[in-house]
């Protein structure tokens, strides 16, 4: 029942509270926020706020599942912006491709797709002898800063911060937060991600970094190495996080600026993560999946040759790879 009160002086409820502009509360909450912000920034993957966030993620997991189920048919809407800016040639190609995909898609049932993905995952697991746990993507990123996905397994399934994650095509990212029943995976396309990588054909080693526009950039490949468009880029295992030899992408463009010591290489990722897709979390690496002394020596010699041509500012690519990948895992 509504309460009737004269001149807006209700004894309780928001009405009375609203007679104040909330200046005192503002000061309290601003101070509280600043304290939380300072404490949160100092945390490195573990701590009070990481725990709270993990618990929150676990509690809200059913809602994320529901959201994915509801929005799955509309996932393509996110591509509207990029479609609007595509040129006519690209659109024609896409239309033709779309027709082909439509006819193909009609033949396939959802269950078959799932089975195929699982088979591919098993094949990948078998091929690379991965010690892994299967999980499923249940949500994407909630903010504009991080390119992450949430998977439906957490510390209760033996997962931990830093573990690499792959799908049936290759490596997709690394766990950065781990709750009891969910984990957050930073994708390799995230701007803060860096993975030590190499060109499969020439074995040239570098660092694969994400960017805000979603492309991957392979850096620290010296210009005396051989790199061609279409070359496969794979993990080098130098950072000690990702197993050696997992595919990451293919070289989309190679630019050799005049006088530069390193190529500017754009890499097209092999995987496009979608909700409900199955992934493998690699829980441990065997000895043969880690970089060998020869690989490290090779990276050293590659860096030395670059340094010999006048580069004094870059650090050792091997040690840089290790430190950068470790940083990514934090």
């Amino acid at each position: 029942m509504p309460k009737l009160s004269g001149k807006g002086t209700a004894p309780s409820g928001f009405r009375r509270n609203d007679s104040s502009s909330g200046g005192a509360l503002l000061v309290i909450f601003v101070a509280l926020s600043l304290v939380m912000f300072t404490m949160s920034v100092r945390e490195n993957g573990t701590g009070l706020f990481s725990g709270v966030r993990g618990a929150f993620s676990t509690i809200t997991m059913p809602v994320r599942y529901l959201g994915v189920a509801v929005t799955a048919p509309f996932n393509g809407l996110g591509n509207i912006f990029s479609n609007l800016t595509a040129d006519q040639g690209t659109l024609s190609d896409l239309k033709a491709e779309n027709e082909a995909l439509k006819s193909k898609n009609a033949e396939l049932e959802e269950a078959e797709q799932t089975a195929t993905r699982l088979q591919n995952l098993l094949a990948l697991k078998s091929t690379y002898n991965l010690q892994s746990t299967a999980a499923r993507i249940i949500s994407g990123s909630n903010d504009s800063w991080s390119d992450t996905v949430t998977i439906d397994k957490g510390s209760s399934a033996g997962l931990a911060v830093g573990m690499p994650v792959s799908d049936s095509n290759g490596a997709i990212g690394q766990i950065i937060e781990c709750g009891v029943a969910t984990s957050t995976v930073r994708l390799i396309t995230d701007e803060n991600s860096s993975v030590s990588a190499m060109i499969q054909s020439s074995r040239a080693q570098g660092m694969l970094k994400g960017s805000a526009d979603g492309t991957l950039h392979l850096t620290l490949i010296s210009t005396d190495q051989n790199v061609s468009v279409g070359d496969t880029v794979m993990t080098s295992g130098l950072g000690g996080v990702f197993p050696k030899g997992l595919p990451l992408g293919t070289v989309q463009s190679v630019n050799k600026p005049a006088g530069a010591l390193y190529y500017e290489i754009v890499v097209k990722p092999l995987s496009s993560t979608e909700s409900f897709e199955e992934v493998l979390v690699i829980t441990s690496l065997t000895e043969d999946q880690q970089a060998t002394n020869e690989d490290i020596a090779s990276a050293d010699s590659q860096d030395s040759s670059s340094s010999g041509t006048g580069n004094d500012s870059e650090s050792n690519s091997d040690s840089k790879a290790s430190s950068d990948e470790s940083k990514s895992s934090e």
């Binding site: 009405r15 926020s33 966030r53 799955a72 912006f81």
Partner: protein
């Protein structure tokens, strides 16, 4: 005589909070332009600040920001700080503004959304989350701002109808039909 229905107010606030939480968790991660994602926490804080305002707006802003922070991988406390201040500013001037001055409310929200987006992304940039200020502005701030601004309109329409159209304190708002903008003078 004025009508006060604080229970209904609370129910409406909780309903709106649940809707926004659901949308933040379910819709926002799966719908975006470029790197932009809709900030339903900001929308919730804006609606509450522009309908009820005052201390309630500040509290709503703080907790909406806190929930947003927990939903993301960014530092906890940043969005709660920004939404607390934004809700205070949106709710300080005129209560129940959304029913009395809809377009003005939307404009005020859009300005606040822009400032919040810029400051949030700038802070993230300054704590070392991004490498380029151009990317920060055009690939993160603008898409988020545009999406959030557009998503606010239906919420504002519903909130405006709820406060202006009800006779006995229906929907959100401090009073049923008349805004505090006018009733404040009677106190």
């Amino acid at each position: 005589m004025q009508v006060n229905d604080s229970n209904k107010n609370r129910r409406s606030m909780v309903r709106l909070a649940l809707v926004c939480l659901f949308l933040q968790l379910a819709l926002a991660p799966n719908f975006g332009i470029a790197n932009g994602r809709i900030n339903f926490g900001l929308i919730y804080a804006g609606v509450i600040a522009l309908t009820i305002g005052g201390r309630t707006g500040v509290v709503a802003g703080f907790f909406a920001g806190l929930v947003f922070d927990l939903c993301t991988t960014g530092p906890v406390g940043l969005m709660s700080l920004l939404l607390t201040v934004a809700a205070f500013l949106m709710g300080i001037e005129v209560r129940n503004r959304i029913a009395e001055d809809f377009s003005g409310s939307v404009v005020l929200f859009v300005m606040c959304a822009f400032v919040v987006s810029v400051f949030y992304n700038l802070a993230m940039f300054l704590v070392g989350q991004g490498g380029s200020i151009v990317d920060m502005l055009f690939l993160r701030t603008l898409p988020t701002f545009i999406l959030t601004g557009a998503a606010f309109v239906p919420f504002a329409l519903i909130a405006g109808k709820g406060t202006a159209g009800s006779s006995l304190g229906g929907g959100l708002g401090p009073v049923g039909k008349h805004s505090i903008k006018y009733s404040l003078g009677k106190r």
